[in-house]
Amino acid sequence: MKTSKQNIHRWACSLLGAGLFVLCSSVAWATESAEVGIRPHNNAQGDDLVAPYGHFAFSGGGAPGPWSTVFTVSNTTSTATTVNVKCYNEFTQRVGPAAGTTFTLTAFNMNFYTPEALGLTTDPLFSGFGWCYFAVTAGDSISVGVGTGIRGIAGNTTIFGSNNSRAIAMDTAQRMVTTDDGSVPFWTKQASWTSYLLSINPTTTARSLTVNIYDDNNVFQGALVTTLSPRDLDMLVISSVGAAAFGTADVKINGRGFVGWVAGFNSASLELFLYGVPLYEFETSALAAGDRP
């Protein structure tokens, strides 16, 4: 009996200790999380990612076209990963198969997905411009490259397999939205450049977006204010505001729901740049299963 009581006492103490340990550490972590937020660093790998696409008939620089996007989806893990892709046009309407397009990538494998391969281009709602939500439905995380350019070989869907392709730019899909602000480090309308801000609200809550635009001396040029409806993609011509030739901009949103890219195009040289809008790291929130279409 005595031994039994000692055991019970020991177990009770152990449980109490473990409980205290978990409690203290979780409180500490929770406090720290609330203070610090998720440290995003590079946000381009995960289970829930979004990216814009474009696709229209255009030949230029000797390339037959069309000008189109290609997504390079890469499984970043050692297990087979199933991905479901659902896309929208810029009017918040779903485009492509109702259930989306689903595919499985074996361990560390990658593949190319064009608007045609995702079943978008034959949809009457396809406007040539929109965004896609990549959701990992089985397995682990992915990364998605977003290449865009004028296809160099007629009938070929890749822009990378030909020296003839033109106006190529590439970035990655993103997995974080901001709950507060982000910044556009550079925009330009020098020479034949024009700069655009592609703003996506992948969530189901409407948000108000303000973009404060500055020249290179941080002189305020004006603001673009718009509403991002749920599942919306908005195109703002940053370089249309003010007289400055180039500069920066700050993006403010009134709640969780902005992720963006800046695209610049030179109509004379057919050069293109594309980069994700940096989001303020302590005001970001990862897209999650609850955000999926």
Binding site: S14, G54, Y196, N218, F220, N254, S267
Partner: protein
């Protein structure tokens, strides 16, 4: 089994471990995160005096002053708002800059003070229009319901920017469904407002499916649409998408389709006579969503004659919805000859939906030539379905070609 002197025992270890973790390990492990967090003025008590000096200092850049104002308004320090108010009140400051600083107040932590200040600003007729408009917007964002009467007054102000901000702020404040619909209608029908605001109002009316939206949407449908040229380069392409999104008649057509009220069909159909390009496509899309029978002749003509594949696609969708055997010749021709796979896809699905057994041969002939997998799949599906109907004539759907022709 018994504790020796100096042995902390299980209980001692149990208490010691978490205390050790919290006191020693935890700060070390997370020190980099904490240090980074403290760099942000918002997360720690801010130096109000230093930041106030920055906001007031006209030698500082606009960007610094606007962003520092944004930090100050998020502070609970009683002195934090005063320098922000001071800059906004200073008439010598650039009104555009002042308006940007007013907009930062939409996140003010000290809501009561910010709201009182914004209301004064809104009611001050001596202030620049953009400053008052920004004040209205921030009042809406702060949920200043006590200022609803003033916002309602300014929602009909002669100045368009102030009018729009006040109406939008009222929408932010909530209100009854009827009030919200009325506000969206007010913005939609106000032709002094920018296209994107009016187009968004049209979108909201479509989503609400309130019959009250029918008349105003039909009215603005008749407005001139921006004729968006076929883009010749990616720059023009981006510009065309931005223009399409802000085009009021296009947004109205989309909304009328979404509204689902068949009474919209005559105005949509009438507009197809003059509309070109993307607006024409939106009109046929709306007519398809409404399954508008009166649009049958227009759709039969469009699927053959229209140069725009987007229009032909929606004409095919409309014909698929109507299932009228009169359209079978056009649909068969589209399957055989249309150069756009999207049109072929809709047309073959229409023939299947109408159980057009006479189309079996032409689909069989078209299938080997078809390049796109979705269209091939639709053709195979149609052949399976129609062949079964041929084998069992009684199983054919009502209204099928062989029954009615």
């Amino acid at each position: 089994m018994y504790r020796q002197p100096g042995d902390p025992g299980v209980f001692g270890v149990a208490v010691f471990l978490p205390v050790f973790f919290v006191v020693f390990i935890h700060p070390v492990v997370l020190s980099s995160g904490s240090a980074r967090a403290e760099e942000t003025a918002i997360r720690k008590p801010i130096d109000v005096e230093r930041l106030s000096a920055t906001v007031r200092d006209r030698g500082q850049s606009d960007r610094a002053r606007i962003n520092v104002a944004g930090i100050l308004v998020k502070s609970g320090d009683p002195k934090a708002l005063e320098p922000v108010f001071e800059v906004i009140r200073t008439a010598a400051e650039n009104p555009m800059l002042r308006a940007a600083i007013v907009r930062t107040l939409d996140r003010a932590v000290q809501k009561a003070r910010a709201t009182r200040f914004l209301a004064e600003l809104l009611n001050d007729g001596q202030q620049a229009d953009e400053v008052r408009a920004a004040a209205a917007a921030s009042l809406g964002a702060l949920g200043a319901v006590e200022d609803r009467p003033a916002l309602m007054r300014y929602c009909s102000d002669p100045t368009p920017t102030l009018r729009l901000s006040a109406c939008t702020a009222l929408l932010e404040l909530g209100g009854t469904e009827m009030e919200r619909t009325e506000l969206f209608i007010k913005i939609l029908t106000d032709d002094a407002q920018p296209g994107h605001a009016r187009a968004d109002a049209a979108y909201q009316l479509g989503r609400r499916k309130d019959p009250a939206g029918l008349a105003p949407l039909s009215t603005v449908l008749a407005e001139e649409s921006a004729e968006i040229p076929e883009p010749k380069n990616p720059g023009e392409y981006f510009a065309s998408r931005a223009a399409a999104k802000a085009d009021v008649p296009m947004a109205a057509a989309r909304a009328l389709g979404q509204l689902g009220d068949a009474r919209a069909a005559p105005s949509l159909l009438a507009r197809t006579k003059t509309a070109v390009g993307e607006l024409r496509m939106e009109l046929f899309k709306a007519l398809a969503l409404l399954k508008a029978r009166e649009a049958l002749p227009a759709a039969r003509a469009a699927i053959i004659d229209d140069d725009d594949q987007r229009v032909r696609r929606w004409a095919a969708v409309l014909l698929k919805e109507l299932k009228n055997p009169e359209s079978l010749p056009e649909l068969r021709r589209a399957v055989e000859q249309d150069r756009d796979p999207g049109v072929r896809l809709q047309a073959v699905q229409a023939l299947e939906a109408m159980q057009d057994r006479e189309a079996v041969t032409l689909i069989q002939e078209a299938l080997p030539k078809e390049e796109l997998k979705e269209v091939r799949a639709a053709m195979e599906q149609a052949l399976t379905s129609l062949s079964a109907a041929v084998a069992e004539p009684g199983a054919a759907a009502d209204g099928s070609a062989s029954k009615t022709n």
